[in-house]
């Protein structure tokens, strides 16, 4: 469904992604793991068109999307849930969600469809229904994350990009959010690319993972095997710290 080939992305002079190739199959949950600055967020921003690559190829459902502006990429069926939620704080919960469907208001599909999707989001996150008139800024961190995901879903994506959805959240809330991701894949066949600090939880949810180091992919494996990989355990899962052994 999504293919990246030899992607090079720069921030000015900084070479952030170095010849990165990866793919996602339909209905897969894939996670990116790596230290801070390894290029995880850059991959999401490169796919969604926020920081387009200098060269390389991105195919979404067989068609190139490298040259497209972000809004066109959203229209194709790719939504991103940005790091730190980025909800519109002075607006109500419901307005935030409706803004997620912004591109759909002008399309031929009726407002009724959008209304239905709003109901679906409220089904997924009953908490948002309770607070639909409340200002987004007054929500707790977990609720804001739910709102950010809900807002992304309002664009009806087939590919969902998530950047650190568990950041700063209580374990119970994280569980709740991961449960919803699993459900999205299961019931709607949504394909998910997940960037997570909490690598362990992400690897438990995901089918496969890519390990990034200084802008390069150094490992691609089935998630359960990455969990078993000692190097991954030490560097990203916080195990065996005292036992680092150098040749």
């Amino acid at each position: 469904m999504l293919k990246l080939k030899n992607i090079n992305t720069y921030y000015g002079q900084v070479h952030a992604l170095k010849t990165v190739s990866m793919h996602l199959n339909k209905g897969e949950i894939v996670t990116l793991i790596g230290a801070n600055g390894a290029g995880k967020t850059t991959i999401l921003n490169t796919i969604s068109g926020i920081t387009p690559p200098r060269d390389g190829e991105i195919l979404f459902e067989g068609e190139g999307i490298v040259k497209l502006p972000p809004d066109r990429i959203v229209r194709r069926g790719v939504s991103q849930v940005p790091e730190g939620r980025q909800v519109f704080k002075p607006l109500s919960v419901e307005d935030n969600l409706e803004l997620g469907a912004y591109l759909r208001y002008r399309s031929r599909e009726g407002r009724g469809e959008i209304r239905k999707d709003l109901e679906k989001v409220y089904e997924l996150f009953p908490r948002l229904l309770e607070r639909r008139k409340q200002m987004a800024g007054t929500l707790s961190g977990g609720e804001q994350q739910m709102l950010a995901i809900g807002r992304a879903l309002m664009a009806k994506p087939r590919l969902l990009l998530l950047d650190e959805p568990s950041m700063g959240l209580a374990p119970l809330v994280v569980q709740e959010i991961f449960r919803v991701l699993e459900m999205l894949r299961h019931e709607h066949g949504t394909t998910i690319l997940l960037v997570e600090q909490n690598a362990k939880a992400a690897l438990k949810l995901a089918d496969r993972g890519y390990v990034l180091e200084t802008g390069k992919v150094i490992l691609e494996e089935v998630a359960s095997e990455l969990l078993e990989n000692k190097e991954v355990q030490r560097a990203y899962l916080g195990r065996d710290k005292k036992e680092i052994w150098e040749r």
Binding site: K5, K18, K216, I218, E220, E225, E228, N229, K230, R247
Partner: protein, 435 residues
């Protein structure tokens, strides 16, 4: 019988998807070895190559080869890409020609290996209902362990007999009702010989499939084994430097071994020039590993001679097939300047009615002339009272050999059982030339 596929996702991928996966894994492997294996980093640096230069599968040919010498120079652990504490298994070659070579596996590598072996065992027809007798030597040799893990992964019952002790092998085979036999093809014939001598009818056994590897063997030898043991004889390929068994294996079509391309990239090169040859050409097989953690290999020269076939196989697998290996580029004997593989002569002998499979090639030099003698063990079928008949038989064999290898050979009959029987790899060639 219904034909099963162990890992349909990876064995039946569209070519385009295989290539994307190969590129991703190749780039990751190259990034990793450049970071953690000094030998590779130095070799890349010498050629002025950085990992980012690998942008397509065809860029693979820009990378340097890895040979057995590299492994010896970095003896014992220099080629490992992870610290030794992450290695859960060490295997090594016999080291008959110098220092042995050492290879390592992480926990994940063992899991990957088991599943690759399970793929070709399943393709050969092994299921969880089978009783698998492993007559490969356990120990430093990867063969026995690889098949052992593969069979257990499938859920079959494993009998870890190890090599040798032929009569006991036969007894176990009868009593435990083994249905699958794992050994070298020459040992399968040794077993058949012994059973004949002991007066055991191989039809009375429960055997139905054989998984033979560890040495090159011909199609004629396959027919011979199938005819004498009443089993389906399948070939599989691997070498310890790359992973052990589990690189490739026959499916039920027996029309070339499927290489597991999500885990290895095969190339065929000219063994003299090192140049990559287009598909279909005969040359040396070069393998790059894509999933190994402890012991990744970049363009390892296997020394095995074969060719690749990318056409679709009837079994449904989309994986490329390699021909049975036709010998090793260093087993190749050069006689009067002509390249000769023992397997070519074997093929001729098997095609002749009444010829027994036991033969040996003796190469010598008289003056400045190379000579080739083919020793065949005599049997009743090819022994004639009349000198004239005997002579014309030998002449016929000589003519056929010459027509295949383009070099004249003298055929001699030797006494029954005078050629040593192997319990491991058969020694087919004796080279007496002092070069």
């Amino acid at each position: 019988m219904e034909h099963q596929i162990w890992d349909r996702t990876h064995e039946c991928m569209p070519r385009e998807d295989i290539e994307q996966l190969q590129l991703e894994r190749l780039q990751a492997t190259v990034n990793r070895v450049y970071k953690s294996v000094t030998c590779y980093r130095n070799k890349f640096n010498e050629l002025g190559i950085v990992p980012e230069d690998i942008r397509s599968l065809s860029d693979l040919s820009r990378l340097p080869f890895t040979t057995k010498d590299d492994l010896r120079l970095n003896y014992p652990y220099g080629m490992f890409a992870v610290p030794l504490r992450e290695v859960v298994r060490i295997h090594s070659s016999s080291g008959t020609t110098g220092k042995p070579t050492v290879v390592g596996y992480t926990k994940n590598d063992i899991k990957t290996w088991s599943n690759l072996v399970a793929r070709f065992m399943t393709a050969a027809g092994v299921t969880h209902d089978d009783v698998v007798q492993i007559a490969f030597g356990y120990g430093m040799f990867t063969g026995a362990f690889g098949l052992h893990y593969g069979a257990e992964t499938i859920g079959a019952s494993v009998i870890p007999m190890s090599a040798g002790n032929t009569e006991k092998q036969i007894m176990i085979m009868q009593d435990y009702k083994s249905t699958a036999l794992v050994c070298t093809p020459s040992y399968a014939l040794t077993l058949a010989d012994r059973m004949e001598k002991m007066g055991i009818d191989s039809k009375s056994l429960s055997l139905k499939v054989g998984l033979f590897g560890g040495e090159p063997w011909s199609e004629a030898m396959r027919r011979e084994i199938e005819g004498r043991l009443f089993i389906s004889a399948t070939d599989n390929y691997g070498l310890s430097e790359v992973i052990g068994p589990g690189v490739a294996g026959d499916c039920h079509c027996k029309n070339g071994m499927h290489i597991f391309e999500d885990a290895f990239i095969p190339e065929i090169i000219d063994p003299e020039t090192g140049e990559t040859l287009p598909p279909g050409n005969v040359g040396e097989l070069v393998l790059t590993t894509l999933t190994k953690e402890a012991f990744p290999m970049i363009r390892y020269r296997t020394r095995d001679i074969t060719s690749l076939d990318y056409t679709q196989c009837a079994c449904g697998r989309t994986l490329v097939r390699m021909k049975k290996t036709m010998g090793r580029s260093d087993d190749m004997i050069i006689i009067k300047g002509v390249n000769v593989f023992p397997s070519q002569i074997e093929e001729v002998l098997f095609a002749i009615e009444g010829c027994e499979p036991h033969y040996q090639l003796v190469v010598d030099r008289r003056g400045s002339m190379d000579t080739l003698e083919v020793h065949i063990e005599v049997t009743e079928n090819i022994f004639f009272d009349e000198m004239k008949k005997q002579r014309s038989f030998l002449e016929m064999v000589e003519k056929r050999i010459e027509s295949v290898i383009q070099v004249g050979a003298t055929v001699r009959l030797v006494e029954p059982n005078s050629i040593p029987r192997s319990e491991g790899k058969a020694q087919r060639v004796i080279d007496r030339r002092s070069l």
